[in-house]
Subunit: 345 residues, 4 copies
């Protein structure tokens, strides 16, 4: 029962997933590829030794009856159309964030999926598969710290390029906190506000960095997320949940400790790609395993993609207004009320 994948978009992330499915995970196989850059698609056959068909576009690829599921790893603005086409073709979809670039686009996918009648889509919010976040969620659900009252998160990158703009702090960086924090506490966002501390001299001219994003949930939990993409010292993801009975925090990156040069310490990652390697593996393995087991993917849903889009829009508005902005979600369809626990987490 090998799951046969078509890949829509053979850029860097697409190739990572091709490698993962071909060489590292069990039960999947790449049988079809396409890319707007046809040469890139063709190149993957040799690079990864694939026995796969190269298609001119997503439509033709989706028409291939041997394709069970697609990976949508094209650039963001193309996601919506490919996902809708896949649902139309009744194929499973693993789509990288964003699900669509607008809240309306996400809703069109939600509606198409509901119309189809069962879940086909999983969005690539991999943090839910990270062992640290999984432990945090278990602690919260087991009432180990009582009701959660506050969260303090930090998302720090050593540095970013000149092309990184202030709004990308929301769309590319905070987007992961947006998904994982409401999932952790099983609550919905209500408001968002953005504060700009003193600017780092390492931030380029047009970038406001760091930023502090404060999210408030319907249940009253206040979450403060520091976005700090020129922190210099490392790629560091922190999350502390303060509850009525205690506090739990993400582990540090697992490094040997050393005593040297008058210091006792551990190494901090410099490259974000190393931080969630296991989570990337697990999200895709879980996508395959849960579909085989239950007929539906088990991870972040189209609705989660919609939440992320609405929240990011409000956060962008808050970046510009300096005010507390409302996050207005439509009512959650019952269709998405099933449990979404990671099978392999």
């Amino acid at each position: 029962m090998t799951m046969r994948f078509g890949v829509i978009g053979t850029g860097a992330i697409g190739r990572e997933h091709i490698k993962r499915i071909s060489n590292k995970l069990a039960g999947g196989k790449i049988v079809a590829v396409t890319d707007v850059n046809q040469a890139s698609a063709e190149d993957t056959l040799e690079t990864f030794g694939l026995d796969a068909t190269v298609y001119p576009d997503d439509k033709t690829l989706l028409a291939d009856p041997t394709v069970d599921a697609v990976l949508v790893t094209s650039w963001g603005p193309a996601h919506e159309a490919s996902v809708l086409a896949a649902i139309e073709a009744k194929k499973y979809v693993f789509v990288e964030k964003p699900l669509a670039t607008t809240a309306e686009g996400c809703m069109r996918i939600v509606e198409a999926e509901i119309k189809h009648g069962k879940r086909l889509v999983q969005v690539g919010f991999m943090r839910r598969y990270d062992s640290g976040y999984v432990q945090l969620k278990e602690a919260i659900e087991n009432k180990f710290i009582g009701e959660p009252l506050m969260i303090r998160a930090a998302h720090r990158n050593p540095e970013v390029g000149e092309n990184y703009t202030t709004d990308m702090a929301i769309h590319d960086t905070l987007i992961h906190e947006i998904d994982v924090l409401h999932w952790l506490v099983n609550d919905d966002y209500k408001t968002v506000q953005v504060t700009y501390p003193k600017k780092s001299k390492h931030a380029h001219e047009n970038l406001k960095d760091p930023q502090i994003v404060t999210l408030e949930t319907e249940g009253g939990i206040v979450m403060s997320a520091e976005i700090n993409v020129n922190c210099k010292y490392g790629y560091d993801i922190q999350c502390e949940v303060i509850g009525e009975e205690g506090v739990v925090s993400l582990p540090e990156f697992q490094s040997i400790s050393f005593r040297k040069n008058a210091m006792f310490g551990t190494n901090v990652l410099m490259d974000w790609k190393d931080r969630f390697i296991d989570a990337y593996d697990k999200e895709l393995q879980d996508f395959m395993d849960s579909i085989k087991l239950t007929g539906e993917p088990n991870g972040p849903t189209s609705w989660d993609g919609y939440i992320a889009a609405v929240t990011a829009d409000a956060a962008i508005k808050a970046q510009n207004s300096g005010e507390k902005e409302q996050i207005s979600l439509k009512e959650k369809p019952a269709f998405y009320n099933k449990q979404t626990e990671a099978v392999n987490a």
Copy 2:
């Protein structure tokens, strides 16, 4: 050159200081005591084996020519009058917080001290003498983390009594962060805002707990201080300074580590009195040593007391308004521009 102290107020804190000067520190001696409760004052002679005169009030005590310095450890509303009287009598003063209960009262002390012509007053903000904060300040001043951009602080108590009211979160709890945070970064406060997360079930009916106080400085540093006085798990003081080149944090309380019952951990204090024992010793020793060495006390000044009062007033206003409130300090007199490093830190 023993410094001869008169003690104004022989309640719990006064007695701690009497014990400290008599049995633990070098160079001081209690020679006079007074209290509105005369019996309490008299009782200290036997309890601590003091060879001291009991006076009916602060005025008569201050008239005793053998008194070099006074400890003002009466209740807060009485501080201002005693401090002003001590300045009038040209005695050195170590006064517990608050310097005075109003900003105006603090200014009257500031003006009296300036008129006197040299510094006589030290306010009991002991955190500046804590080894952890001293290390943080050194790191900042040595530019170890570049310019500070943000601070994340937490002030957590296991629980508070029924008499602890929402405003005490500012006057009794945050007051220490107010003093130590601006000192750490050598900057002045500009605005303050208070946010109320979901209320802890452990907070009694009329208390809003936890609270998040956000302070912004003239230089743009954003400081977020969590006040959480029913956190249950311990007395925990945290402070993380995020700079352009790195981050420094207060050490955890120094405990042996243990491996037991499927856990690896350290002990967290439950009693706030144990947290700053060394700092209490050092602030008083430094008070004595710096006066002997330079003729002036070296610790937190009347001006620091004034800053604390103005900032606390604005924070109380912010508690009620929910808005960002301005912190408007008068211009700092040159008189207070000397270095205020701890001698013994």
Copy 3:
């Protein structure tokens, strides 16, 4: 290029590997199984949904031309014969420890493999694939701590059953340290001595526990390994390498941290099976990947199995004599001098 496995021994460990290859790793497939308990072998087909042939014994299984490699996961005394038969049949072998129950048995395998002309055998010493040990080895090889002078290791289990005997502290427990420590420092053992501290009241009547095993290498490195199988608090593997310029240590198990009940801590594992999960996955994936890439397995060799057997024999002798016993290895055949880095580590 799927690697087709035959499994010799379908007990607990055999089943773990069947599950791993079938459901978690890429590039392998179980095509044949056998067990002295034929019903157990047959049962695996349904339990794991295998499309595999059940053979009456290792010989018939090895005769199946569709079998590329075998997993030897039978009980220890049967290993030698199966491994020799596999070499005879020119099949790749992944054999759980021990390679053989005697040093002579190990040498027979070494000789058979050399005669065959290329490496076929990998021994299941999984710690070399653990991320912590890999980081330690990198630190040592990069001269981060200069020349290693000493190692302090601990191998602690919460408790053991009544059937665990004093010699099992060597054969079943220390055996992993025996393999990984000489690998870490790229040195050979010279002597071994065993010391018995005060016995734990939790050790059953006939068991000496804890034990301290001191190994000395040809290069003079002194390694002290605490074997403590009734430590109660957890399954805890420690390793600290003390070098001329500094010290490096294994990370603690990666757990969220918590602040609760006057403690700040992390969780310690209680079940040894959770500690090296990733390493078990990686050793088998590396076995498959390296054979596909280079024609030879890349992990611990038959020679490593021989070293473990000789060292364990000397340690058992030392347990009984109380004296420092010699560890006399034959000269290492050039055949085994290739690099044995983990491909996937």
Copy 4:
């Protein structure tokens, strides 16, 4: 009730204690000084502003009736005579290690003290006053880890001078572990063995470094102490006690933590003088306080000095023989069986 001290030996350590008593502790005063270098003794008067008499030798100083107690801080070979003279003169004695340079010398002091009828002597083993060791002892005595079975200690210095010889690893370095480890577990030493790992290239020609000293107690506890005086990275004192129910360890030096340059860490001390500052203060304060309170000093006794001497002698023998050497103590006089808890610890 100020305790009036005479100081016998005004070298570096003597001066540290003079400064401590004069400027930092409560209840003591230096009234007399002597040194074989009379100029040194005289110089202390001006350096520390002492109002004290300079005596030509210990005998004349001891004859001064205003002297209540003496600090013996001369060089080691002179200690015995001064201590015996002080006992003869019925003065309290705080003597730096060694109590005497031979076990016989220690016994002469023990006998003189017993003959005198009450305890007069405290030996300067300050570690018993260190907050970390005090917490370890409490944990052991509260049975928090059950019966102690093993101890792993390390005594690491960044480097030593050319004059540091192999035997000094015992007399000057291990001596502190010798005192504090038997105190921790309230047990007596039985044997000692010394092992030499690979020599560090940083050890000078005639020095064997590192060394591993293994002590076994009458109760069967095995203690392994690493002496490593060219470890380069810092001054690092470690002690881990492994018990039947768990493990407790000394805290790391209390430093702020930092995140910088791809590292997360704390600072390690480089200078041994910074490590036990608080313990030096507490031992002397306790010496004064306990004598005032009970008429006898409360800290390490002459008998502890004797234990240290006998154990060190055996360890030196073990350094040379390579064998396990017996530690043969005389029977402990009932005179020394009182509680020796630190009052101020």
